[in-house]
Amino acid sequence: MAKQLKSQYDVIVVGAGPGGLAAAISAKKNGADDVLMIDRDLELGGILLQCIHNGFGVDTFKEDLPGPSYAQRFIKEAQGVGIDYLLDSMVLDVTSGRKVFVTGTRGGFKELQARAIVIAMGCRERTRAQIGIPGPRPAGVYTAGLAQRWVNVEGYMPGKRFVILGSGDIGMIMARRLTFEGAKVERVLEVMPYLTGLSRNYVQCLMDFDIPLQLRHTVKRIIGKDRVKAVEAVQVDDRWRPVPGTGEMIPCDTLLLSVGLIPENELSQKAGVILDPMTNGPFVDDGFATNIPGVFAAGNVVHVYDLVDWVTKTGLTAGRRAAMFAQGHCNENPVFVPTAAGENIRYVVPHRIDPETLTQDTIMLQMRVTQPMEEAVLVRVTDGDTLIAKKRERYVRPGEMVSLKLRERDYDSVRHAKELRVSVAPL
């Protein structure tokens, strides 16, 4: 906890999930003296605190940890290196001049000045309105993450009989969790012809518990005025239109939605950060710098990662670059090499690479594909006709991020490239 809040910091990190924790630790280790983390929750750790299942840290620690244990390692380190933090405090405003306005019950309302800022606010869940589910508005329609908080943090069951819409990871993990708690999960419905979450979650959370998954199905209507009484499920065609005659009434008291996450960038926008409509996160370079000088981004606020290990890595890079910026070390007028999405690629992060900083951090290109390809594929990075890097994958799926590391031997071609276009095609 911050004993005495200063009015000025080298680096302020907004959000203390794994992205923010890594950024703060990295900033401190790289020469920023005064580092402050701010989080609206009562504890450090972000969304990991409610992810009590295991599956975290396989890459970072070569261990399969529950979310809170993964977070705890970083919390300990942050406390060890002497990072200040402010909890139960909401950041209301961030300006392009790097002022941070924050309010909380203990610290009161404060205006702080930072030399550099790392935004690490994570993401929020898509709602019923965003996918336009028809029907009235009873109690019992919850996002999966909300139900997860209720069950794992608050200790309450928000229903007895569930239908889950969306095969996202949180939904599948909650299907298993609710089953453990004695609830009945009738079914998981997915509008797409493929799974949107990780395959391992399908096996471990649905198959192992005999919870049926119906692809190409959605909720046509919610029934129940005060509390959900049933949902009408329906099959959809290639254009997501209900197939007549396929409606089926499923009695239940709760509909959980696991239909996607959206990076939470309302604050970033207040600071003038420009967002990529494909990712809903800021346009970033290889150091996770946004278009606003001194404002860096880490974790799910950039785009939705499916593994926490990647989130931590972004935090380490963003934190180090923020510390450098705070100390006045930054490339004044970089000439960027842009990245671009080619065949079957939805987007590429980072959006641009500064050839001058190539050697500072490992550079990963991270992509999501548009269509699943259930065969061996080649991921290629090209500049016009020149092949710069390539990688094989056994398959690609929209639910699983594709990563490609740029190697030192690629750097020379990157320096001279006009763009780095990533595409995927069968081998």
Partner: protein
């Protein structure tokens, strides 16, 4: 023990609450009953929130008269009751030349109703609203149009009534009338789900159910209310902001699908108009959503479906009362009367649009009707027209926010991340003169949960705060009253 009142009002929508507030200035013992667990849950809870100027009401109808009379009342009303209101003006936007010709009809109607209006060019319209369709040919501008917060207005009116002595009973459903044993056709009270109440006057302000109530009194057996559904989209204000109230050129049935801005800066698209059977059928439908989207796009082509943050529907209590003025051929007029057949009954019905706008004028008319019926209404010396405002964290400057948090640290804890509603505001509403005891009640008073995450962040926190402040178990906390509990049991209690 039976309670005796001078006046009992059935229904705490905008009409019932304004009427209660208007009558509260007189020395009367008044009871306002509402079958829901909160005020403002019927038609008043879901509508376009517009204070109509009266340009399109059919001249000579009671609707036109009440609309035009009420419109200028809203400035003072919003100051006294401290709710959100802005006189934005309104535009009827003509897309293409054919529609432009039709604007004359409404210019003429406006003139007959005594409402000022002017026709402006497409160029001028585009300058005032850059997001509007390039095919806009021109528009009718009506400066008297406005936007209000219907929840705020209704709840504030009810609260002001209560602080001036009106008794409010929620979860109390009117069931039937009690009749005099000595005098034929005289109503002396009513049976409710919470027992019998005696009153010299009963005012029917039951919205969608006003026909059923009047039939129990033996009044207007031919009168029917048809629920006419209107669906809406609310857009993310960070993505698109419309500065004006934009109507299409109206058709015969309704004012059409409009694109307007709420007082909170969100663009609102809707409503369509569909007659249905179920008086509680506030479903949104796939067809309806497509229809309003198309209507919205006609005026503002740049709308993007990804920026929808909420969808809802409301029901207009559409009546079939002929206009009292026999020269006017109109069959959906308001009913505002003391009928001849029964004694002790004031009948307010058919309150479709512009019922929200007209409510203060209707309330004033009820006062006149009672006076005409011989009630010597005596003004109270201590009547206070002011409902004091409570702090709204998000509308304060940074300096004011700092001062408020310093005074009461509960205002420093933000519970609703999208709309920046603080714990202090929530607690204040739970302990207000009309206590907010459900999630939706808090939402209507603070706008919490009305943002882009639809309450996904605040819900567990609000359930906690409600439980703590009301001294209840979280399992008993509801979204909108009995039967809408959020939670079933604690974990580890498998059974």
């Amino acid at each position: 023990m039976h309670s005796r009142y001078d006046v009992i009002i059935i229904g705490a929508g905008v009409v019932g609450c304004m009427t209660a507030r208007w009558l509260s200035r007189y020395a009367l013992k008044i009871l306002l009953i509402e079958k829901s667990s909160d005020v403002c849950t019927g038609a008043t809870a879901a509508n376009s929130a517009l204070i109509h100027a009266g340009y399109d009401a059919v001249p000579g109808t009671l609707k036109a008269q009440m609309n035009v009379k009420a419109n200028p009342m809203w400035d003072r009303l919003s100051e006294e009751l401290r709710f959100g209101f802005a006189r934005t003006g309104a535009y009827i936007v003509a897309v293409g030349e054919d529609e432009f010709q039709k604007l004359d009809i409404f210019l003429d109607r406006a003139g007959k109703n005594g409402v000022s209006a002017e026709i402006i060019s497409g160029e001028k319209m585009r300058k005032r609203e850059p997001n509007i369709s390039p095919e806009v040919f021109g528009a009718l501008f009506v400066p008297a149009g406005g936007v209000c917060d219907p929840w705020g207005a209704t709840i504030a009116a009810a609260e002001n009534a209560v602080t001036n002595g009106v008794e409010l009973r929620l979860d109390t459903e009117f069931q039937d009338f009690l009749w005099s044993e000595h005098e034929p056709e005289r109503i002396v009270g009513m049976k409710t789900s919470q027992g019998d109440f005696y009153g010299r006057w009963v005012i029917n302000a039951a919205g969608l159910f006003a026909d059923e109530v009047m039939h129990k009194a033996g009044v207007r057996p031919e009168f029917r209310i048809t629920p006419r559904r209107g669906e809406y989209f609310v857009m993310d204000r960070n993505q698109i902001q419309i500065q004006n109230v934009l109507f299409p050129v109206p058709n015969a049935i309704s004012k059409g699908i409009l694109v307007t801005t709420t007082l909170h800066g969100n663009t609102l698209i809707g409503p369509n108009a569909e007659n249905i059977e179920d008086k509680t059928g506030v479903d949104v439908t796939p067809e309806g959503m497509d229809e309003i989207w198309e209507g919205g796009k006609k005026l503002v082509p740049g709308l993007d479906r990804r920026h929808i943050i909420a969808v809802f529907a409301g029901l207009r209590p559409a009546g079939n009362a002929p206009c009292l003025n026999l020269d006017v051929d109109y069959h959906h007029d308001f009913v505002i009367e003391i009928p001849d057949q029964v004694k002790g009954f004031v009948n307010l019905a058919g309150m479709e649009s512009p019922g929200l706008t007209a409510a203060p004028a209707i309330a004033e008319r009820v006062v006149e009707l009672l006076q005409e019926a011989g009630e010597g209404l005596k003004p109270k010396a201590d009547w206070d027209p002011i409902r004091p405002a409570r702090p709204v964290f998000r509308s304060l400057s940074h300096e004011e926010q700092a001062a408020l948090v310093a005074k009461d640290s509960r205002y420093g804890r933000v519970i609703c991340r999208c709309e920046s509603v603080s714990e202090g505001e929530i607690v204040a509403e739970i302990h207000a003169p009309i206590p907010a005891t459900t999630y939706d009640a808090i939402k209507r008073r603070t706008w919490l949960g009305a943002g882009r995450c639809l309450g996904g962040f605040d819900m567990p926190r609000v359930v906690d705060i409600l439980a703590r402040e009301l001294g209840k178990d979280p399992l008993g906390i509801t979204k909108k009253g009995h039967g809408s509990e959020f939670l079933f049991r604690r974990t580890k209690e498998v059974g």
